[in-house]
Subunit: 181 residues, 2 copies
C-alpha cells in the first residue's frame, strides 16, 4: 500500500533551509548512516519522488558540486511553471498539473512502494490540502536559524508513531490526522 | 550551579503560540505528568522565573480563567516597558533593565537553583545574544501551525543531551554551544 511521505531534516525552530537556500547547518551534523530513520532504509521503500523546483535546483547544484549524478533511480516529478532541463539519463518529469493528478500518476509508477515528497514546504502543504499527505518523517538538527524556508506552512494535526535519537539528531515519524478522521 | 533554561512546548514547525496567542493546540495533547521532562520535576529545580510581558499576560489570563492563582512560588521577573500590576501575594517584579542586570539579580535570588525562561522567543534571543542561555528543553507537540510566535528567533548551535517520548510529545534537552566554545 503506497504511502505519501514527507521525509525531511529540519532545525529546532522549523526551517528546512536557511534564507539563502543553504543546508550548511545540516551537512555539518553527525549522523549514523545505519541508525534510526536512516536515508538508505527509507529510500529502499520509495517508488517515486516528487519535489518543487527550488528543491530540484538545489539537488542539481549540490550533486554537481560534489561530483555525483542525479541521486534518484525512481521516476521523479518536479513541479514547475518554468522550462527546466533534466539531467542526462535521469527519469525526471516536469509538471505544472494539479497535485492530485500528479499524485495518481506517481502512485501508479511507484508499484506499491511509497512516494517521497522531498520539499519544499509549500508543495507539501498542497498535498496536505488535497488530503494526500500520509506521513511526516522529520530529523531535527541541533540548530536554530530564526528564519528560512518553513517545514510545512499549514495547520495540521499529526499522531506520533515513533521517535529515536540518531547521533546529533532527534528523529520522529508522524501520521497525518485527516480532518474528520 | 545555576543554569539558565528555556523550558518550552513547541509545534513541529517551531511555534510556541499561534497567531492569536492561543495554546489550544498544546493543551489538547496527551501528556504523562510523571514522564520524561515533566514539569513537576523541572520546576522543583527552579529558583527564579523570567518572562516577557505577553507571556505574563497569557499566564494571568489562563490561570484566572481556570480559577488557579499565580503559578510560581519562585521570585519572578517580567520584562516590560508598561505599567503592569502584580497578582496579590505573588513575588513578581517588573523590569525594563538589560537582561544581563536582571540575570545577575535572578541568579542571586535563585540560590544555586536554575533560572526558568518561560518565553517569549525574542526575550530568549536576548539572553542568547548576551551569552546567558545555557539550555533549551523543548517538548514537540504533534501539530503544525504554519504561523505564530517563533521558538527562538536567532541563529544558534546546540548539542543534544537527551531525548525521549512523553505520550504525544517528543522531548529533547539541548546545551547551547557558545560562539568560540
Amino acid at each position: 500500500m503506497t504511502r505519501t511521505v514527507y521525509y525531511v531534516a529540519c532545525t529546532l525552530d522549523g526551517f528546512i533551509a536557511d534564507e539563502h537556500h543553504s543546508l550548511d547547518w545540516l551537512l555539518k551534523q553527525d549522523i549514523d548512516q545505519h541508525g534510526p530513520m536512516n536515508y538508505d532504509a527509507f529510500i529502499d521503500g520509495v517508488g517515486a519522488v516528487l519535489m518543487g523546483a527550488t528543491t530540484y535546483e538545489w539537488v542539481l547544484k549540490h550533486q554537481a558540486g560534489s561530483g555525483e549524478g542525479w541521486p534518484y533511480t525512481q521516476p521523479s516529478w518536479v513541479f514547475t511553471h518554468r522550462d527546466l532541463a533534466a539531467p542526462a539519463g535521469a527519469d525526471v518529469r516536469f509538471t505544472s498539473a494539479p497535485v492530485t493528478a500528479v499524485h495518481a500518476e506517481a502512485v501508479e509508477a511507484a508499484k506499491g512502494k511509497n512516494l517521497f515528497l522531498v520539499g519544499g514546504g509549500d508543495l507539501i502543504g498542497q498535498f496536505a490540502d488535497a488530503g494526500l499527505l500520509d506521513e511526516v518523517m522529520v530529523s531535527y538538527a541541533p540548530v536554530t536559524l530564526g528564519a528560512g524556508a518553513p517545514l510545512l506552512p499549514r495547520r495540521l494535526d499529526l499522531r506520533l508513531r515513533e521517535t529515536a535519537r540518531n547521533a546529533a539528531f532527534v528523529t520522529a515519524t508522524y501520521d497525518v490526522v485527516r480532518a474528520g478522521a
